[in-house]
Subunit: 549 residues, 2 copies
Amino acid sequence: MLDWNTKGRDRLARLEAGQRFSAGKLVDPQQLVAFLEAILKPGDRVCLEGDNQKQADLLAKALSKVDVTRIHDLHMVQSGVVLPEHLDIFESGVARRLDFSYSGPQSARIARMMFGGQIELGAVHTYLELFARYFIDLTPQVALIAAVSADKAGNLYTGPNTEDTPTVVEATSFGKGLVVAQVGEIVDRVPRVDIPADQVHFVVDAKRPFYVEPLFTRDPAAITETQILTAMLAIKGLYVPYGVRRLNHGIGFNTAAIELLLPTYGERLGLKGKVCTHWALNPHPTLIPAIEAGWVEQIHCFGSEVGMEDYMRARPDIFFTGPDGSLRSNRAFCQTAGLYACDMFIGSTLQIDLAGNSSTVTGSRVAGFGGAPNMGSDARGRRHPSEAWLRAGREADPTAATPALRRGRKLVVQIGETFGDGMVPMFVERLAALDLADRLQLDLAPVMVYGDDVTHIVTEEGIANLLLCRDRDEREQAIRGVAGYTEVGRARDRKMVEHLRERKVIQRPEDLGIDPLDADRSLLAAHSIKDLMLASGGLYRPPSRFRNW
Amino acid sequence: MLDWNTKGRDRLARLEAGQRFSAGKLVDPQQLVAFLEAILKPGDRVCLEGDNQKQADLLAKALSKVDVTRIHDLHMVQSGVVLPEHLDIFESGVARRLDFSYSGPQSARIARMMFGGQIELGAVHTYLELFARYFIDLTPQVALIAAVSADKAGNLYTGPNTEDTPTVVEATSFGKGLVVAQVGEIVDRVPRVDIPADQVHFVVDAKRPFYVEPLFTRDPAAITETQILTAMLAIKGLYVPYGVRRLNHGIGFNTAAIELLLPTYGERLGLKGKVCTHWALNPHPTLIPAIEAGWVEQIHCFGSEVGMEDYMRARPDIFFTGPDGSLRSNRAFCQTAGLYACDMFIGSTLQIDLAGNSSTVTGSRVAGFGGAPNMGSDARGRRHPSEAWLRAGREADPTAATPALRRGRKLVVQIGETFGDGMVPMFVERLAALDLADRLQLDLAPVMVYGDDVTHIVTEEGIANLLLCRDRDEREQAIRGVAGYTEVGRARDRKMVEHLRERKVIQRPEDLGIDPLDADRSLLAAHSIKDLMLASGGLYRPPSRFRNW
């Protein structure tokens, strides 16, 4: 006779063990480490909530203090490896195996620890892929999550940073795992129920908010004229001809520049209402001037952004907000929206090779992927047409025997300067990701966006339209043709590049009627964080690190 | 000064209008039609919940009775067009435009109405794609949904048929739309909270359960020996070499046969624990024998299946179940899991052309897609390796210059008999979907799975491995080579087909050591619905239409 309730009984045992340190669901914060030692077992699959924004930081700190002779070899399955404690637990042996998505601020240390063998790498995922595995083969046995507040029953309010929480909790709780939430306060009644109490097993009152990183704030003051030029190229050379209404912008100053050019340069081109109306996007402060100018119809958000809370509350037509008035974000649904309902993904990268493959791995850093692989890929399951998508499909295959069988293509654009931070060339013959794959004996190099999914590359030298390339050589020369004075750029076949330009595979600023001398900071709708605050009518409250007034 | 709360005020007006027919959130069922006339406006985007299983049937009926002079030209955005009322509203003019996914039982009538111009077609989507658009450009203004019960505050219990509800409600409610739920009963306390009350605006007590279609029940008695042969081929020719552990099965007798062969034929091949351990799957009754024999570790479900409720409750290690003991399904998450966390999708179709494109559109029927385009596509954003996925990638590109840059491939398998129901050939020179596209002047023919995503085709004549085909001609001959005595099959180039067989592009039963004479019904682990019930220890309670005892 098979036993069909091993997981349920295992959870019950953990519940009972945990209740030695709790009154009802409320765990004694003084005994948090002992509590974790009681509910965890060696080898557990654990999701310690954290992504590129919110962090269950109190629980992370406590987990880093558990007795490694009792709790060890955990298998961490979580979006972000961001806090020092996320890696401390691998150093101490509390954790051993890692499946994750993003590690921005820890990219150097995580690389060292991978090389040193302290982290056994499962895989680097795109967010939605890791969420998918929560329901199939990486269901957490314990989830340590973060919320703004809880009521006594355990209903949780996540506030604007809902992010991964509903997904992590659904997989864990219905998968018979244990859900432990740190909250900023216990209240009589939560402002809205983001997570119902019956999915939450324990609550810890941290008596302070969880940590949040303002990752999507770009100071307009730091935007260069070269970045403004790339933004003008993107708007006039891509947004206009494709008529891109539904899109996502990655992080970076180039796309921030696009956002700040919409109400100025974009207005002059008569684009208002014709492009950039519907977004899958975090609440970027640099989008405030475009929103205020009436460009934007609706934005769905992966997460929130520190300082944008009151602004979003005051713009309920634009943002998805709850009965409490604050944003409801949702990373899983927004990634799904980015995949299937957007016509364009445009973002930056650190390295692009001759085939158009890009990666954020450099010699000493493994930054992970976040959402880029998902949104920067052609959604082959997509079945609804749009003008932008159909046009891209026609360009890729102009002579299709049966046009009705020709799919469209997602526009996947890489934008950046030929030389990036510290004058490091963006274009390389060989991705550093390949060295990483060699060194760690990975089957798969950590490529962020594959060349066969990239449709355009934009630099200050021009736009390369890879959809129009008919073979590998053309593709390589199209890439070299916008790679400027990098080694890759200098090794171009000048004749072939000129030929590609005649075919509009490559378009220079002058081909688009853009004078690089016009790429002036005066074009930006805001020149500083303070301008953004003023544009918001004082509703945007920048974090102190961004204030100099 | 721009107005930023038009949607909120619009909802408030609808709320107030609706409250004339309600006590608190509870709508008077006698006044349901008048209530809908009060909360709806011409041109509204409306999601009338319904997919291939559960239906908000009371609300559908009421909507079909509203006064068309008051409520007309609605834009319906919903997974399923399944009930007669779903089309009645287009006939009367209450609705005009349609974005949907699936229309199985209404496939003939919907085709007639499209041809007749009574339905203005937006697009036919795959489920996850339509959900994605709920957050971008198809956010419902009103959602009419279905749940098992509600408490007085409006907390909803969906029971096992959670399905689309959380997704529809999240998009609608936080998008400032109005959510109206029909429930089977009002209770003091819901068994679990599937939808928190603050996302629900009105509740109608239908005093009976919503309608559910047992779409995923296949009677073993109806499985033919030809289907058993295709199942043997799939198991030995695909599941074994690729070592497929994480997968989805479509609907159909061929895959039902696979499920019923696991504990017999699969056991004999020593596959237990090596294949088919983790599933994105509805609770197929035909999987009961494999579950009982200990083959299955975990199943996440899109929806539920009528009669399987008690069985799932008694198998909590296998299914995602809630604190109330019953299944928690979730179509959005399960589709995501099917896309990103499964190595194989195997399903049937009605037509396959010479390029491997398949469609369920026939001359007079438009059945829609459901989940097949999503799960039957290569997830190009996937970044985690598995043996199955890597092997498929190697087969497609054996000579990659840089193996670490070679992605794997999702296994997308079409399985069926060369001649289907009514001896209609599955293989065609030209898809009927193309005629539909012509007739309706669609940019895009409604192709279910595109040939470039299909990796294998299995018929009783053998397996065609399209990954191994190096050009269009090889692909065409590989397809003809398993198309049997259909016209497509008879027009094969015999020499080329033999050559493909030498290269194992085509594998015949004998090439796999399978004697077609062994494809006997005695191999099935259950021969009838009653056997399935017995295998479940009486826990599976088949709907009466499947009972003949």
